[in-house]
Every structure is written in C-alpha cells, then in structure tokens.
Amino acid sequence: MATYVEIASVTVGSGGSAYVEFTSIPNTYTDLLVKFSARSARTNDAGGSDGKLEFNGVTTGYSSRMLLQQGGAYSGTSSTLFYFVNSNNSTSNTFGNMEVYIPNYAGSGYKSVSIDAVDENNASSAYGVLTAGLWSNTAAITSLRLTDNNGGYMQYTTAYLYGIKKD
C-alpha cells in the first residue's frame, strides 16, 4: 500500500453546512491527516470562528492545550479539540488553513491530536492556534467530525482526509 493516500474529500455546496464528517474510516493506516480550508458564516467577529473536532460521534473526553494568536499571543486550555477558521466578515474570498494530525488513530490507547490552524484577515484582527489535543478514549477512530461553533461552513469549504502508513 502506498504511504500517503487520500481516503476521502468533500467540498461544501451552496447551502453551507453546520459540520463536515468522515465516517467508516478504514483502520488500515497508521496515522490520519486532515487538510481543511474553511470559511464560517459567522459575521460578529472578523478575527475568526472557533470550531471543534470530535471522533466517533462522541462529545466527551477531549482536552487541549493551546498557543493562540488572538489580539496578542497567549496560551490556554479547552475541553474541546479547538481551532479557528475565517469568519464571513473577514477579507472576502479568504479561507482559513488548517492541518490535523492523529498518530496511531486505530490503536488501543488514548488519542493524541495535533492541530495547526490559521486564518487571515486584512484588518486588525486574525486568529490562529497551535493545539495539542487529547481524546481520552481507547476506541479506534472510525469517524471524524469538524463542527463550526457559529454559523456553519460556507460554500467552497473543503476537507481532505489522508491515511499515512508507516510500513
């Protein structure tokens, strides 16, 4: 099997979507990688829209430690796997850029998650975050959901799921 393989991809249509979810993820890879280019329908914060990553439809057991740029640099924690994407009152035609890496996603231990997410806005405010996340659950990851916490993802938002195999 090749090392770096696209498993599935999706582009949000004209109606938008509250979240994007990949299901029936095969357990034949070593690690998972998500590339996410997104714009939220949020219009009350031009700096960015927060979102969360969840697995297997489970809403509990998540924690994050983060380095954030949000009007200054600081560090914080969250009870979700946290990220930012562009809001709809940010610079037009601009989408946030995000990568998620999940090593050993099909293993029997807790799942470590690394998220790098930035959005850009040609104005005084643009958010970004480096997240070290943990899902305290020993289940293999079979589905993965990216949810916007505000207005939902807009048309042309794209998500690509890749499998990486170590041998």
């Binding site: 090392t3 983060m66 560090s75 914080g76 470590s112």
Partner: protein
C-alpha cells in the same frame, strides 16, 4: 507515478529506551519527516542529533505554551537540539529540509505536544554542519509503546 512520500523505517518500542537511532538513511529523498507517538510521557522534551554528533553545534528557537502563558526560548551551542515536547500522550512531528545536501547547514521545523501533558511547542532547529544527514537520533525517556517513524519526501 513516482512515489513522493515513502516510509523509510519505523520502530515500536517493546521496552523503554533513552535514545532511538535511524541509521543508513538513504540519500535519495529531498526532505525527511519524522513522526513520533508516545502513549505516556517521555519527559518534557525530545531532542535530536544527527550523524551521531554530540558536539555543541546545535541551536534552536522554541515557542511554547503551558495553558496559561506563551513563552519563547533560545538555545545556542547545544549538544543536541529540541525536537518537540513529549510529556504525555503526545504527537511529535518534524520536517528536516534538504537533508542530503553537502553544501548547507541543516535546518528543521518541529511541532510537539500532549493534550494531557504540560506543554505544546513549535521549534526551529539548526545543525551547523554541511554533511549530508545519514543518521538521526531521538533522545528522551521513551516509554514502552512509543512509535517512531521516518518518511522520505521526494521533490521529483
């Protein structure tokens, strides 16, 4: 179609170790990517050495957060440089650019962190040696079950 991203070697630890070395790295790729998963803490920092070199010609700049404050630190003339924090169930990745050239010093970018640990970080590191990288050593208090993998990325 040419193979662009290829697993070179992997190690899954059946016992604890203080270092893991990947040697005889083929010189046929453009960049090397490393990926490390620790099931439990390997100590605060992973460090890296190249070609078995422990002379003080490494340096790094680290941006790190502990959940309440963001900080940065520099290390110069080190015997090994930082390669991603690993104090918990952690994901650590690094990209060593242009590793096989014999003209320039070697640089890499790394990200590390454990959601249930104390820190997360982003690191840029430098090895002031023009030699091609033929081996990479990762140092930490590696616990049983740690998985270390190196991949080759080919530009053409």
């Amino acid at each position: 179609m040419a193979v662009t991203y290829e697993a070179i070697a992997t190690q899954t630890l059946g016992s604890t170790a203080s270092s893991v070395t990947f040697s005889s790295i083929p010189q046929t790729y453009t960049d090397v990517v490393y990926s490390i998963m620790t099931p439990t803490s390997a100590g605060t920092n992973t460090t890296i050495q190249f070609n078995g070199d422990s002379t003080t010609i490494y340096s790094h700049t680290q941006l790190y957060g502990d959940g309440s404050s963001a900080n940065s630190l520099r290390g110069t003339d080190q015997s090994a440089s930082l390669a991603g924090v690993s104090n918990g169930t952690a994901s650590i990745r690094g990209n060593i650019m242009n590793y096989s050239n014999s003209t320039t010093y070697k640089t890499y970018l790394a990200r590390g962190g454990a959601g249930g640990g104390t820190y997360l970080d982003a690191v840029v590191g430098l090895w002031r040696n023009t030699a091609a990288i033929t081996s990479i050593t990762f140092l930490a208090s590696w616990p049983v079950g740690t998985v270390l993998t190196i991949y080759g990325i080919k530009a053409a």
